[in-house]
């Protein structure tokens, strides 16, 4: 199926579900939500920003329809239009046995970390995402191959989850899932994200083995406060031959004091590289003291941010985030065996009306291997 055919099918699915009559006597209820963001990114420190980033204008659109089939079953379909074209960001059934036992089956974003829940541009105050979750808007994207786990990570699979309130003020969440997982070609040294969204390689698992993951979170709830702490993990193989392993772990903390938020997350990914037939000619660095090449790469990422309302219409946000990569690199790579980025972001969003906002943010990139850069974002974002 070609890209345009797939786009037409997804659009027809959403329109058909939204347009079909809901019968109240069947207790079938349906609702619709959506968002739009148009962002312009400028890189004033480089004459042609496109050489180090996907700069200039990008649009992100999402249209979501959810239909409830009584109290224990619902279905959601979400259409997303962004840099990749038209994609199905969601297409799943939720089956609820109880609050403590729910099943999600279909195409969805598995639970990992705190940010993916707010990945929709209408739900966060900056135009782009924290570096660990970057999906194509960071500078030096090619050299770094994005962050740790691009958000939203959309995949086919099944998820078991639930929540239990020990009291009104203490909630425990859990989730466990099996999804297709990241992909790459044979003899890979890192994920190849295009294979996850390419019709040429089909939207199926590339190695017949699911990636497994889990998340557990504790939520302490007060009248005007909320503290959420979570741990996440995901792992499996990512190459067609099932030889190259990866594992991602993460910790997250969100503190809400009325309308002020402090958020922090840390992600770590260990990725096994294929050494190939001749590692000497393939890699920039030689073997270790034991005479063997280390096939593992460690990639760490974090962010910490504070978001607060400054006036009735203006919200402010400051963020500090970064990435660090440790391990051998291909000879062609501009990175070294220990490379890092630190990024400092200050931004504000102005409420125009309804749920429409203008977002303005400035980012200072401190690279260990390249000259420092500045990026400026100006966006119009809103919810439907």
């Amino acid at each position: 199926m070609s890209h345009s055919q797939r786009a037409r099918v997804i659009i027809l699915m959403v329109v058909a579900v939204a347009a079909a009559p809901a019968r109240a006597d069947d207790k079938v209820e349906r609702n619709f939500a959506g968002s739009i963001q148009l962002d312009y990114m400028a890189v004033p420190t480089t004459s042609v920003g496109r050489k180090i980033s996907l700069d200039s204008a990008t649009a992100e659109v999402s249209l979501k329809v959810t239909q409830d089939f009584g109290e224990q079953m619902s279905a959601s379909v979400k259409l997303c239009i962004a840099c990749h074209g038209v994609e199905a960001g969601m297409a799943f059934f939720d089956l609820r046995v109880s609050d403590e036992l729910r099943f999600r089956v279909g195409r969805f974003t598995p639970q990992f970390g705190a940010f993916p829940l707010r990945h929709d541009p209408a739900n966060h105050r900056t135009s782009d995402k924290p570096l660990p979750y970057d999906m194509g808007r960071m500078l030096r994207i090619s050299e770094w191959n994005m962050g740790i786990l691009p958000s939203p990570w959309v995949d086919n699979g099944v998820e078991l989850s639930g929540a239990h309130f020990f009291s009104d003020g203490l909630q425990l969440d859990y989730a466990a899932y099996a999804v297709g997982g990241p992909r790459a070609s044979a003899d890979a040294v890192d994920f190849e994200y295009r294979l996850s969204r390419s019709a040429d390689s089909y939207y199926v698992d590339n190695n017949s083995r699911p990636s497994l993951g889990a998340r557990v979170a504790v939520n302490v709830v007060g009248d005007k406060s909320n503290i959420t702490a979570g741990l996440s993990a995901m792992g499996g193989t990512y190459d067609p031959d099932n030889k190259l392993r990866y594992a991602i772990v993460g910790a997250d903390l969100v503190v809400q004091l009325s309308r002020v938020f402090l958020r922090a997350e840390y992600l770590l990914r260990e990725t096994q590289m294929s050494l190939g037939a001749d590692p000497t000619s393939r890699f920039k660095y030689g073997p270790g003291k034991d005479g063997k090449y280390d096939p593992y790469v460690l990639k760490q990422g974090f962010y910490a941010e504070v978001e607060a309302p400054l006036t009735d219409r203006i919200d402010g946000i400051v963020r500090w985030d970064g990435l660090r990569r440790q391990g051998n690199v291909l000879r062609t790579s501009a990175l070294r065996s220990d490379s890092a980025i630190l990024r400092y972001t200050a931004g504000a969003s102005y409420k125009l009306g309804g749920a429409t906002r203008i977002k303005l943010s400035g980012e200072f990139y401190d690279f260990s291997d390249f000259q420092d850069e500045i990026a400026i974002h100006l966006a119009l974002a809103g919810a439907l």
Partner: protein
């Protein structure tokens, strides 16, 4: 250690200071419009609703959805309650519904029955 990672210890302290300052200047926002006086219990309910809803998304997303009807608000609140780490207990869901029912019914210029 890469040059980029030096001097990072100062940053967390700066963030904590900003958090404290930001908390001091926090401007309350509410689901209630100033033109519709609400009884104290509704004000209390809407305070809880504002805190809970804003945990995951801007409160404006709730305000622009007025007019969808009370039944659909029940549906939405249940969907939101089931989101991971929503912090919305069954008791909170009732409180939020009391607020949103008032918001819905007091919205005189809302187009009714939209989906």
């Amino acid at each position: 250690m890469p040059q980029a990672l030096r001097g990072v210890g100062r940053i967390p302290r700066s963030l904590v200071c900003l958090l404290v300052v930001a908390a001091c200047v926090d401007t309350p926002r509410s689901l209630l419009s100033s033109s519709t006086p609400a009884p104290p219990d509704i004000q209390q309910a809407c305070s809880v609703a504002t805190t809970r809803c804003a945990h995951c998304h801007p409160i404006e997303r709730v305000i622009v959805s007025r007019g969808m009807g009370v039944r659909k608000w029940q549906l939405y609140i249940e969907q939101m309650r089931l989101k991971p780490s929503s912090g919305i207990s069954l008791n909170d869901a009732d409180i939020i519904f009391r607020c949103l029912r008032f918001v819905e019914e007091s919205c005189t210029d809302c187009k009714r029955g939209r989906s």
